[in-house]
Amino acid sequence: MDWLTTVDHKKIAILYLIAGGFFFGIGGIEALLIRVQLWKPMNTFVTAQQFNELITMHGTTMIFLGVMPIIFAIMNAVIPLQIGARDVAFPFLNSLGFWTFLFGGLLLNLSWFMGGAPDGGWTAYAPLSSTTYSTTHGVDFYTIGLQIAGLGTLIGGINFLATIITMRAPGMSFMRMPMFTWTTFVTSAMILFAFPAIAVGLVLLSFDRILGANFFNVAGGGNPVLWQHIFWIFGHPEVYILILPAFGIISEVVSTFSRKRLFGYSSMVFATILIAFLGFMVWAHHMFTTGMGPVANALFAIATMLIAVPTGIKIFNWLFTMWGGQITFNTASLFAIGFVPTFVMGGVTGVMLGSAPADYQFHDTYFVVAHFHYVIVGGLVLGLFSGLHYWWPKMFGRVLNETLGKIEFWTFIIGFHLTFFLQHFLGLVGMQRRVFTYLPNQGFDLMNMLSTVGAFLMGVGVILFLVNVVITARKPVGVENDPWGDGRTLEWAIPSPPPEYNFKQLPLVRGIDAYWKEKMAGHKEMTPAEPVGSIHMPSPTIIPFVMSVGLFIAGLGFMFTTDDFGNSFLNFLFNNYIVVIIGLGITFGSMIVHSLYDDAGWHIEPEEIDGKGAEA
């Protein structure tokens, strides 16, 4: 019950981690099933229809329900601490964002049990996603589930933006913010500008399917390419929404474990902003082959390649940070170091794909699959593992096992390169993506088999991580503030795990890497910026949970409005929008309740703070 009503950012972080990890597991199983089907030619492990459902759900689940929430988990756990705040700007919305994400994700996955999962590819291209070609409710689950989950992401983005703008500790100017805070800030801004676009796209697609609208239906004057534009105007920024937080994590980890300040801090900040800006300019490089014409193709190709410049700046800054540093090779830093060359390879194939004429060759082959897995898995997932190992002690008060961690790293990264390096060549010799099987002796057989072996190795790596988590959970809580000894930023100045109010007194920030600066000046803790006083806390509430349940019900109701259940009562409920109205009624009703009863919150008094033995 505690967990259903919490508004504490640290607990919400754990909720995001569990839920994100759960969906990541489902996505992983789907991936392994795909690889089993492809491990030999003419395999009949799954049918073509099941294969389409698997690839669609794998991509969708991983991106929207797996890695995004894990990113949010780390952001929630770390950002308020890094900026020296007691909480986020809107604790209520923080909880609402989590629950809408979870119920959206559950709705989407319900499709497996209710007549078929979406099968139009994770990009849901029209007309594949139209009722003509996708006859089950699968795509409806996709549009409505993602709509609800996306709402949660948008809420989260707004919350982090406001938090970082207004809640920074005294003395922490923008140019003193830790790099992970910076990338979270920029990522949140990108979410704010990208997610409403996909929200509209999903509405249009569901109107086409459920209300018989004609947005993408050529017979009614609609335009399928419009879907692609809307999808990628969101979709390309989305890939940077994914990778920028990883950049932030890598910056923190590399500088901590090199015992050096991040090289070129301000150029890192500007590179991040530039990447975000360019990220919105290049969406049509996913559409070179739709016939936009040479001028548009050339412009988008050039814009795409420009992104390599700020990205290159980042890579060199990480290298220069490590250069001459006293590097500690633990699990967190291994993942970070492994990230750098892997991500560079993904970037290089990105530039290759960005060259429009070459893309005519690569498009829709396994070369593209290899490219985006190098950036998403080799970049983001390595970054997430690095970040989890790095901040685990802060979140849970226990350090993950190092030996196991290193084994984890090596199995995962070897498995990863085995799986995806070969796929570049599979693509080059002509294997198409999204085909459920292939003929023997076309030069695909061996590489596919090895690729499947690699995928299972990655699976083992992930399982080892889980084993590590379980083993670590048995250890007693209570590492000190700064278990790495080299912590540079504010989160390391308070106990692990932090008390409910984070900082007894807001700290005074005197430079970049605020905690390191104090340590170098011979201080053990931060100089407080305020006297000890009573701390105001928001009350827990069940309303966000109820609101999300309402949306879930309304979504299900909307999807089945045109169905004939063969049961007059059910037909009455669904066909007259009664279920939709009930669901929305629950949501808006709880909003009204929330608005009517102002939360006065509660206070932690100074005596209690000391009583709890916090030494912040």
């Binding site: 707004i158 703008i165 509209v200 608005s595």
Partner: protein
């Protein structure tokens, strides 16, 4: 000036009660951010509409359909409601709860008037022209864009009505003031969007064809 000070003194509220607390300031900032997202949302809807506005299939086209006098009146009503909403905020800054409530009520009534005209308009299109969601790509994008705006107006009406009730009960405090301020921001935003709807959908459709 003297009356202003007198009013404030009786209320013991700062001149801008909406910005008096961190919660209030956060709320306003968060709402600006939310509106930025809303702008992208409507931007995408407008782009869709512009792409599809001539795709009329077998259905009627914009110039056959629209009647400028009705939409002009609707526009006027909505613009005036923005003005009354400004008056309500001014009343709030003077600490005059009664005038605040009056202006909020006028705003809601004007909103209802606008909504009534819109419902009438849609009703006409459907019954007299057989112009529904499924008629053509143009109709789909028309109903979606204008309907989204209408839904925003509806939401705003409910929201402001709720706030009227709250202020009537609890009075003007540092908790209710940010809510009123933010709802006014919302209302202006919805108005500005309508100006674009009027131009891009109706004027362009009727005049350019």
């Amino acid at each position: 000036m003297t009356t202003l000070h007198a009013e404030q003194a009786t209320n013991k509220l700062p001149h801008e009660p909406e910005k008096a607390t961190l919660e209030g300031r956060n709320k306003i900032l968060g709402f600006w951010l939310f509106l930025a997202g809303e702008a992208v949302l409507f931007g995408t809807l407008f782009a869709t509409f512009l792409t599809l506005r001539n795709q009329v299939a077998d259905g009627p086209s914009a110039s056959e359909l629209f009647s400028l006098p009705i939409t002009a009146v609707a526009t006027l009503i909505l613009l005036v409601s923005s003005l009354t909403s400004v008056f309500s905020i001014q009343a709030m800054h003077r600490g005059n709860v009664k005038s605040l409530l009056t202006w909020l009520t006028v705003t809601v009534l004007l909103g209802l008037g606008f909504l009534g005209l819109e419902i009438y308009e849609f009703y006409e299109y459907v019954t007299h022209y057989g112009y529904g969601m499924t008629t053509s790509a143009f109709s789909s994008s028309f109903y979606t864009l204008v309907g989204f705006h209408g839904a925003h107006v509806t939401f705003g009406i409910c929201w402001i009505s709720l706030l009227i009730g709250q202020v009537a009960r609890k009075g003007l405090t540092v908790v209710t003031a940010p809510k009123i301020y933010v709802s006014a921001m919302y209302w202006h935003f919805v108005d500005v969007v309508w100006v674009f709807v009027f131009t891009v959908v109706y004027l362009l459709g009727k005049v350019v064809g």
